[in-house]
C-alpha cells in the first residue's frame, strides 16, 4: 500500500539524480527498503509550479559532498530553532530520476526566463571592489554593488569578534535599522553555522523550513530529548525574510566574516545566485585580506596635532559612562557600544579631554598597552568601523572621521564628561 509523507529536503545532485534526506527510522524507510520506487511532488518556491518525479532508490550516502551539503542545511535550520545535536542526518538517499514532468491542469507554465548575463555584473563589481583602499569603502561598495548590479537589496556583513565566539554586524544595506553591532554566536543558527562549516547555506523557503522544523520541535518537546532543546534564535535582518543566503568570507580558509543576503520573496535565491554570491564573497574576502596586509606594511600618515576638538566649551554637556566589566559605553544613559570598541572609545575620549587631542592613528591604538587589546591580527579596523557607525546612528554630536590612511579624527560638538565605573 502506498505511503505518503512530507520531506524536508530534495537536493538536486545532477541532471539524473536527487538526494532525499533520511532523518528518521520510520514507516517510509521500511517501505522504501522493501520497494525502491518512489514519486516526489516538488513545489517550486517562487512560482508554486509543481513537478512530479518518478524515482528509483539507488543507495544511501553517509559521507561526501552531497551528504555534507544536506547535513549542513538541516543542522543550520535545526540550530536556528534550538534543536542542535538532537537529530542528525542519518543519510542522503540517492535516487535516479526516471521521469520528471510538470503537473498539468492547474496552471499554464510560463516559459523559462532567460538567464541574465551576470558576467558583466561580476566584472563591474570586482573592478569596484579591487579599487577600494580601506575596509569601510570595500563594505559599502560590496553591498551597494550587490544591490544595484544583481538586485540583492537586503544584505549585511558580519565579522568575528576578538575571541572568535561571535559574529557582529559591521555593515548592512536595505533594512529599516542598520543592525550594526548586533551579534550571532559562531556555530549557532544558520549564519553561525555558515561560519563554522565554511559553507554557503541557502534557504529557498525560509518560512517553510522554519515551520517544518518548529513542528518537529513541538513533536519532541514532551519527549526524551526535551532537556536538549534550547531557545530559538532570532534571525537578524528582515522580520519577514522568506529567503536567505549566508556565504562565508574566506581567504586562505581563514574566516573573515559572513555575507548574508535576505529577501521577502520566497525562492529568491537559486543555485545560480549562490554561485554568484560565492564569487562576490571570495572577492570581498581577498580584498579584505589585502587591505589588512597593506595596513600592516605601510606606516600611517602623520597625524596633525591640532586641538580644535576641545575649543567648544559652551553649551550642553554630555556624560559618557564606561563600565569596566564589559567595556560598555553609555552616552547620556543611552547604550552605545561594548567590548573592544567601547574600550577604544573610552581611550579616545580620555585623551581628548585630558590632552585636547582629536587626531589619532590606528597604529598608536594598536600599540597602546593600556588598552590591553588582544592579538586581533590587524582586525582593529573592523572595530573602528563598528564604533564609527554606531556613533553615526546613535549620537549626532560625536563623530569619528577618517583623515587618511590609518588615521582618524574625533569630533565632539558638545562638552563631554567621562565617568569610569566598575
Amino acid at each position: 500500500m502506498p505511503n505518503v509523507t512530507y520531506l524536508s529536503v530534495v537536493h538536486r545532485v545532477d541532471s539524473n539524480h536527487v538526494a532525499l534526506s533520511f532523518q528518521f527510522f520510520n514507516k517510509s524507510r521500511k517501505n522504501l527498503l522493501e520497494n525502491p520506487k518512489a514519486q516526489v511532488l516538488l513545489v517550486e518556491p517562487a512560482t508554486f509550479r509543481q513537478f512530479q518525479l518518478n524515482l528509483a532508490y539507488q543507495t544511501t550516502l553517509t559521507e561526501g559532498l552531497v551528504f555534507e551539503r544536506l547535513r549542513i542545511h538541516l543542522d543550520a535550520v535545526a540550530s536556528q530553532i534550538g534543536m542542535s545535536h538532537i537529530f542528525s542526518l542519518r543519510g542522503a538517499d540517492i535516487f535516479e530520476v526516471l521521469d520528471c514532468r510538470a503537473v498539468s491542469g492547474n496552471v499554464p507554465l510560463e516559459a523559462m526566463q532567460s538567464l541574465p548575463d551576470h558576467l558583466r555584473g561580476l566584472d563591474v563589481l570586482t573592478e569596484r571592489l579591487t579599487a577600494c583602499g580601506d575596509l569601510d569603502a570595500l563594505l559599502t561598495a560590496g553591498l551597494d554593488g550587490l544591490s544595484s548590479l544583481f538586485g540583492y537589496d537586503h544584505s549585511f556583513v558580519l565579522v568575528p569578534d576578538e575571541e572568535e565566539k561571535h559574529l557582529f554586524t559591521i555593515a548592512s544595506r536595505g533594512f529599516p535599522e542598520s543592525g550594526v553591532g548586533s551579534e550571532v554566536a559562531i556555530g549557532q543558527g544558520i549564519i553561525g553555522l555558515a561560519a563554522t562549516q565554511r559553507s554557503p547555506i541557502r534557504n529557498a523557503n525560509l518560512a517553510r523550513d522554519m515551520i517544518y522544523s518548529r513542528l518537529v520541535r513541538s513533536g519532541i518537546e514532551d519527549r526524551r530529548h526535551r532537556d536538549s532543546l534550547s531557545r530559538e534564535i532570532p534571525l537578524p535582518g528582515l522580520a519577514s525574510a522568506c529567503s536567505q543566503l549566508a556565504v562565508p568570507l574566506l581567504a586562505h580558509n581563514h574566516l573573515l566574516g559572513v555575507l548574508c543576503l535576505q529577501s521577502e520573496q520566497t525562492g529568491r535565491f537559486t543555485a545560480m545566485d549562490e554561485r554568484l554570491a560565492l564569487v562576490a564573497a571570495r572577492q570581498i574576502a581577498v580584498t579584505m585580506a589585502m587591505i589588512r596586509l597593506k595596513a600592516a606594511a605601510l606606516p600611517p600618515d602623520e597625524p596633525r596635532h591640532d586641538h580644535r576638538g576641545i575649543s567648544n566649551q559652551a553649551g550642553p554637556c554630555s556624560l559618557i559612562k564606561h563600565y569596566k566589566s564589559d567595556d560598555s559605553v553609555f552616552v547620556d544613559d543611552a547604550y552605545l557600544v561594548k567590548g573592544m570598541p567601547g574600550r577604544i572609545l573610552r581611550k579616545i575620549v580620555q585623551s581628548y579631554l585630558s590632552n585636547g587631542r582629536s587626531e589619532f592613528t590606528n597604529k598608536e591604538i594598536r600599540l597602546d598597552t593600556s588598552l590591553q587589546l588582544p592579538d586581533i591580527k590587524d582586525n582593529l579596523e573592523t572595530r573602528l568601523i563598528l564604533l564609527r557607525r554606531r556613533i553615526e546612528e546613535r549620537c549626532d554630536f560625536l563623530q569619528i572621521v577618517s583623515t587618511g590612511r590609518g588615521r582618524f579624527r574625533f569630533d565632539a560638538k558638545r562638552r563631554l564628561k567621562l565617568e569610569s565605573l566598575p
Binding site: 509523507t5 512530507y6 513545489v43 496552471v107
Partner: protein
C-alpha cells in the same frame, strides 16, 4: 499553514464528480489557503496554483490512520 498531517488508508468505495456540498467544502478550503497565503506573503494567483482545477470526489472506508506530521513519530499508528 503548518505541516500537521494524518494519513488515512482504507478500501476504495467509489469516485465521481463533486456534489454541490463538496464544492462548498472545496471553496472553504480554498479560502483558508488564500488567507494563509496572504499571511505568508505569497501572491494569491501563485498560492492558488497548489489547488487542482479539476478535483475528484473519492469515497473510501478508513481502515488505518497514521500520524504523518514530520518528526520522529511520523508513520506511527493512531
Amino acid at each position: 499553514m503548518n505541516y500537521k498531517t494524518v494519513q488515512l488508508k482504507g478500501r476504495f468505495l467509489e469516485s465521481g464528480d463533486l456534489t454541490p456540498q463538496d464544492w462548498e467544502s472545496f471553496e472553504r478550503q480554498k479560502n483558508t489557503l488564500t488567507e494563509q497565503a496572504k499571511i505568508h506573503g505569497i501572491p494569491l494567483k501563485i498560492g492558488l496554483r497548489i489547488l487542482p482545477l479539476d478535483p475528484v470526489r473519492i469515497r473510501f472506508a478508513v481502515q488505518q490512520a497514521f500520524e504523518q506530521t514530520p518528526g520522529p513519530r511520523a508513520g506511527s499508528k493512531l
